[in-house]
Symmetry: C2
Subunit: 385 residues, 2 copies
């Protein structure tokens, strides 16, 4: 096990009928900005519930934060925060809204051009407004971590940043708020949480028994709950497991003390930036191909993954690895999520376009061994055609 | 899954050579009291390392906190804290030292007779001094939770208390600090962490897939690492897994959103108070007997435990349950920890003595169903003879 620090101060308020707790969670004197995405927050009644819980507080609202939240949109929120001297940000939505809120929280107090925050990965954040969240879409884990991703439309750049100042003070997780989500979003959320777990698990062994068992438990849970999660929108228990699993997949716990990969994410980000493919869907495109190309350096963990997660225990090592990768691909496809670029009409030209973006963003040494250079990224993308 | 709140603000600093981090973790102006137990903290050099890390800070020391820390001892520390106006408590030791430090942290600022804190389970704590810990004995999880147990020698009362103000600000976990521990302490630690996990897992199902998988992962890890943990004191990787597993077994995570038992602990506390048997050893006495007596109400989870933790999948339900309980007993006995009261020379008289203590302390409705009354506690204790 590697040395590590783990400190996650976010308070989780989990369960049905918990939105009303906002009244105790946000200071009575706070000047609140509610940030949200599209019309669904209003339509489902969640915004009304939030407004009611905030009572007599001074509240403003900022809607229209898009999937893959853009610098261009978020800077309008930053101007509002500054103009109105707002001092508490409440994100109501999924990972995009929460990520965008994190950018606003840091940018509003940043002394300089806020895009530098993304360019420097958040290392230059010195202060941030406090954030709370009401999660309506389980997937990214942003509700209990300090990271975010922001996109600059003008340059098609999608960059991650993180800083301990960006942990939400609290996150309200009410699984019943997911009942109205389209099945596609649930499928995306399952894949997103699955790949988050894989990025921190499927590397090389460092005798971190607990982290391995926890990661395997998350993967097994996602596989178990996937069918009812998609088929039965109002199955509270299933949605509760999905929500808590997605949070635990990226709250720092399973990644503490172990090597991490994240190459699938970095390559996937470019696919989203270039072709506007949903984040989770880009992960499903890249991961199976990456596991195949990296099967030698990931051999020991791939065999463990095959045995413990998929119960694949017979055949040669390479047969077991191939079967585990096929099971992974089948899991994604079974959720209606393609694992081939051709499903999006993309071919060899797209491979080269992604490589140019990776080069432009300095993504030339990815993965837990930093051995995924542009040549290897090309092999991975070609394997995903 | 039940509704829950999870908020654990303790910062974990984990790994070899991490004691030096104290200099950044404790405010430079702090007036520190180092609290510790016996002579080993000095002999192993840990105290010297701690003193060096604290540099020029004003530091006082209070040694002699005993296993099952006593009110009588701790009140002397309280007097020292008050007289010297100390404002930061640093526990260097295992669960007893940390528990004792939590009592001192609350008692020093308590307006009234501090024993009331134990009598009211901590609900009357309004403020507490900040605490940090340097963990030297993995077992109780006190380094990352808000609970503690304190004993009043005069009345043989051993009472738990908890309050969110008692989370350590940080805990330094250096697995190499455990190399010098006697094998008996390691065996105790393994059993302690195992039973902590069982108390939050082996109740009845509430469709909490993640919590179940995490608990099973902790149990599997403890079973895997037990032989090398005892046999090879300086096996860093094994000790690292033991340390992190014991912390995760009782930091609120696996218990969030699920029913909890704790009857084994409550009965065990009385055995410690009356006969001075090590805490973990009392758990090994009570648990197998309790599982047998409660096999009907715990049936579904006992079967899951049998299958997933012990790979017991054939035979009738009752055969599988019996085999799982036998495996549990065998695991404890294999660590040199008895599971029968007779091993301590205790017989039917002890059963009645424990029952009188349970009655005196109001422990007449224990377990996840509150159905362990004195009659059932008698059956459990008789089954442990």
């Amino acid at each position: 096990m590697k040395n590590f620090e783990f400190h996650n101060p976010t308070r989780i308020v989990f369960g049905a009928e918990t939105v009303g707790r906002l009244d105790q969670l946000i200071p009575a004197q706070a000047r609140v900005l509610i940030l949200y995405g599209g019309a669904s927050a209003e339509k489902t009644g969640t915004l009304a519930e939030v407004r009611q819980a905030l009572g007599q507080r001074s509240v403003q609202e900022f809607g229209g934060i898009e999937p893959n939240p853009s610098y261009e949109t978020l800077m309008r929120a930053v101007q509002l925060v500054r103009a109105e001297q707002l001092d508490f940000l409440l994100a109501v939505g999924g990972g995009s809204v929460i990520d965008g809120t994190k950018f606003v929280a840091a940018a509003a107090l940043y002394d300089g051009e806020p895009w530098e925050i993304a360019e420097q990965g958040g290392a230059n954040i010195r202060q941030a407004l406090p954030i709370g969240t009401v999660l309506t879409l389980p997937a990214t884990g942003s509700e209990m971590n300090s990271g975010a991703v922001v996109t600059r439309k003008a340059t098609q750049a999608k960059l991650p940043f993180r800083n301990a100042l960006l942990y939400p003070r609290f996150s309200v997780l009410d699984p019943s708020k997911t009942f109205t989500l389209p099945a596609k979003q649930i499928a995306n959320g399952l894949v997103d949480a699955y790949v988050h777990t894989i990025e921190q698990y499927l590397t090389y062994p460092v005798q971190a028994h607990v982290q391995d068992r926890f990661a395997e438990g998350l993967l097994q849970t996602l596989i178990e709950i996937a069918p009812p999660a998609v088929a039965t929108p109002d199955d509270y228990a299933t949605r509760a497991n999905l929500m808590w699993t997605a949070t635990l997949a990226l709250n720092g716990l399973i990644g503490a003390g172990v090597p991490q990969d994240w190459a699938t994410h970095m390559i996937g980000h470019e696919l989203t930036a270039l072709y506007d493919i949903d984040h989770a869907r880009t992960l499903a495109l890249v991961l199976p191909a990456l596991l195949d190309v990296q099967r030698d350096s990931k051999r020991a963990k791939l065999l463990q993954y095959a045995a413990r997660v998929w119960d694949i225990r017979s055949g040669s090592e390479d047969e077991r690895i191939t079967a585990a990768i096929a099971s992974t691909r089948h899991f994604f496809e079974g959720l209606g999520i393609p694992t081939r670029l051709s499903a999006y009409g993309l071919g060899p030209d797209a491979v080269e376009a992604v490589l140019r973006q990776l080069q432009a963003h300095g993504m030339t040494a990815l993965g837990e061994h930093r051995d995924i250079d542009l040549a290897r990224s090309r092999r991975i993308l070609q394997a995903a055609l």
